[in-house]
């Protein structure tokens, strides 16, 4: 008797419910590390979904974005190298042409207020167009890329699955790539584990961390290890590359470049905007004794950052703790 009543009630309750469709792919949402600030990227205008992320991942690894189908984003932003190039000073594009600047690693993009060494790109969604259309990188036009994608049944299917429309647009392309880049988060280093109370520094690492806080942290600000400012760090008395000046045309910006993150710094050599230093020792030596005078030299570097041999050693022990091997081997981000 009771059983029948329960059965009837159950029937009443379920009578109007539509059949639930089980998603084929597990759900996905933006990942916010607890100790990171709020992202700069406006997530609300492009909410992360599994389908759009997977499309972005396919595009990131596809050479379709380049003129002759030879270069993909991953060619110069390889996961094995923390999404920087394969330890070369400057990258090779279509036809073997080379650029003038070192390819920065693509991670923690959600927190960047601007992109490129000179900050010329103001929005993550507008980042991809630069390498796609640069003659020494992918050397394509946006019109041609969109036409190629629209002419392909394979890509039409992929875009439809993500955006539900039949016509592929550049906005969809940029937003899908953005979603993939949003999910490349580096917060799995030993340093992060120490910060979360899951590990501890050795005495040498701790000594290095103390030195870092004292001598480096004002520009390489935690937890992202950059303050995203543009500074002249005394590389040259006369800069071959005007840096930030190329964007602002202000004399005071000549020879200024964006402060790069120190996360994964030992894995993403060479260093500086032109990749001139191949070892971290050269970098430390530059700050210790090699800073050159320049009208726009950063005030904090007027006397360089003198370092003893021991201090350099401890700093390196600390920088090692910023290597994120979890990100390097994260399956979800690998070539599909």
């Amino acid at each position: 008797m009771r059983f029948i009543i329960i059965l009837c009630l159950l029937q009443v309750l379920t009578a109007c419910k539509k059949t639930l469709i089980t998603p084929v792919l597990p759900l996905l949402s933006f990942y916010q590390p607890v100790d990171f600030p709020e992202p700069v990227y406006p997530l609300a205008q492009n909410p992360v979904t599994r389908e759009k992320f997977e499309l972005g991942r396919l595009l990131f690894y596809s050479p379709v974005l380049s003129l002759d189908n030879t270069i993909s984003c991953a060619t110069c932003h390889a996961q094995t190298h923390l999404f920087a190039d394969h330890n070369v000073a400057v990258s090779s594009g279509v036809g073997g042409l080379t650029g003038t600047r070192n390819a920065p690693p693509v991670f923690n993009m959600a927190w960047q207020p601007h992109f490129m060494w000179d900050g010329g790109v103001n929005h993550l969604e507008m980042f991809s167009i630069a390498p796609i259309t640069n003659p020494v990188e992918m050397n394509e036009t946006m019109l041609n890329v969109i036409n190629k994608l629209n002419a392909s049944d394979y890509w039409k299917k992929q875009f439809k699955a993500a955006f539900g429309t039949d016509q592929i647009t550049d906005q969809q392309l940029f937003r899908a790539l953005t979603q993939y880049m949003l999910m490349i988060v580096s917060d799995g280093s030993h340093y992060d584990k120490v910060k979360r109370g899951q590990a501890s520094f050795t005495a040498d690492q701790q000594a290095g961390y103390n030195l870092f806080l004292q001598k480096c942290a004002s520009c390489h600000k935690e937890p992202l290890f950059t303050d995203y400012s543009f500074r002249n760090n005394g590389l040259d008395e006369i800069s071959a590359d005007d840096g930030r000046y190329l964007i602002t045309q202000l004399e005071s910006d000549k020879g200024r470049f964006k402060v790069p993150t120190l996360r994964n710094v030992l894995l993403t050599y060479p260093y500086m905007h032109d990749g001139r230093f191949f070892t971290i020792d050269q970098v430390l030596e530059h700050y210790s004794s090699g800073v050159k005078s320049h009208t726009n030299l950063d005030p904090s570097l007027q006397n360089g950052i003198p370092l003893t041999a021991d201090e350099k050693k401890y700093l390196k022990r600390f920088l090692e703790t910023l290597n994120d091997y979890e990100l390097m081997s994260k399956m979800e981000l690998s070539e599909p």
Binding site: I4, C8, C16, Q45, G120, N122, M126, T141, R175
Partner: protein, 274 residues
């Protein structure tokens, strides 16, 4: 046993009834319910505002309104004496508003147009969804407002596929004028890519005009037109000959000078007709 049968019947009715919800079944209505199966006459509708179309006619001419301007024709500039043949002439018009009789404004949503002389000699911008009424003036923006330059990927006229976008220094190329001239330096070509949306480099210019004595009457069937004149020769008002400035490819003083000369004295309201 009887009791049980009764219960089963009652439950069955419940099941049956639970799907026979009453409500508004018209998807067009404001209070449409997708759960309702039977319409109970409670549908509410948005007040229907009747609308019509207005066409913004852009007539391109060279210096004098009697001389039509088109691509691949050689013109002589009356002030500089340069011979100029344009192969590309494109520019953005945006944020169109029409002033109603009562002084309030109708703002066109998503109001972005790329005028491309490659595609039509006299560009026609069709404004649809204009509320029925009488209009006495227009406001429009030459260029693309700063918001759309800093908000990421756009669609429609603002798609990057038109090539009116700087990839390395984010922002729209708001005027693109290219061509040849024997007076131009290297290679006899001139290239003007004008843009800039912030600080001293801002070229975005809002223009307004009153229609005058006559007003534009918009009805559901009207075919009213607003005529603007566009004179590319005004690009050179201050910079002078192409031998002075033959190439502009980034925001800055040259872009500001050329664009604002063109916007301010080269683009003007002419007349309307109903």
């Amino acid at each position: 046993m009887k009791k049980i049968a009764l219960l089963v019947v009652a439950a069955g009715i419940l099941v049956f009834n639970s799907c026979k919800k009453e409500g508004c079944t018209d998807p067009e209505a404001l209070n449409y319910s997708d759960k309702a199966k039977t319409d109970n006459g409670t549908c509410q509708y948005e007040e229907v505002q009747e609308t019509g179309k207005v066409t913004l006619m852009l007539a391109h001419y060279w210096v004098n309104e009697t001389m039509d301007f088109s691509l691949n024709m050689q013109y002589v500039h009356p002030e500089t004496g340069d011979s100029l043949t344009f192969t590309t002439f494109k520019y953005f018009v945006s944020n169109i508003k029409l002033k109603k009789e009562d002084g309030t404004w109708w703002t066109q949503p998503e109001s972005y147009y790329l005028v491309n002389l490659d595609e039509a000699e006299g560009a026609q911008l069709v404004l649809s969804g204009v509320p029925v009424g009488n209009y006495t003036g227009i406001s429009y923006v030459m260029g693309v407002d700063s918001t759309r330059n800093v908000s990421g990927a756009q669609t429609g006229a603002l798609s990057t596929t038109s090539g009116m976008f700087w990839s390395w220094n984010t922002g729209y190329i708001m005027v693109k004028a290219e061509g040849t001239s024997p007076q131009a330096g290297m290679g006899g070509a001139f290239t003007y890519h004008l843009g800039g949306f912030s600080g001293n480099n801002n070229i975005v210019t809002t223009k307004t005009a009153a229609f005058g004595t006559e007003s534009l009457n918009v009805t559901t069937t009207s075919t009213g037109m607003i005529h603007l004149g566009v004179d590319p020769s005004r690009l050179f008002t201050t910079t002078g000959s192409v031998s002075n400035v033959g190439m502009v490819h980034m925001p800055g003083q040259n872009a500001v000078t050329m664009a604002t000369d063109f916007y301010n004295s080269g683009v003007s309201f002419k007349y309307i007709h109903n």
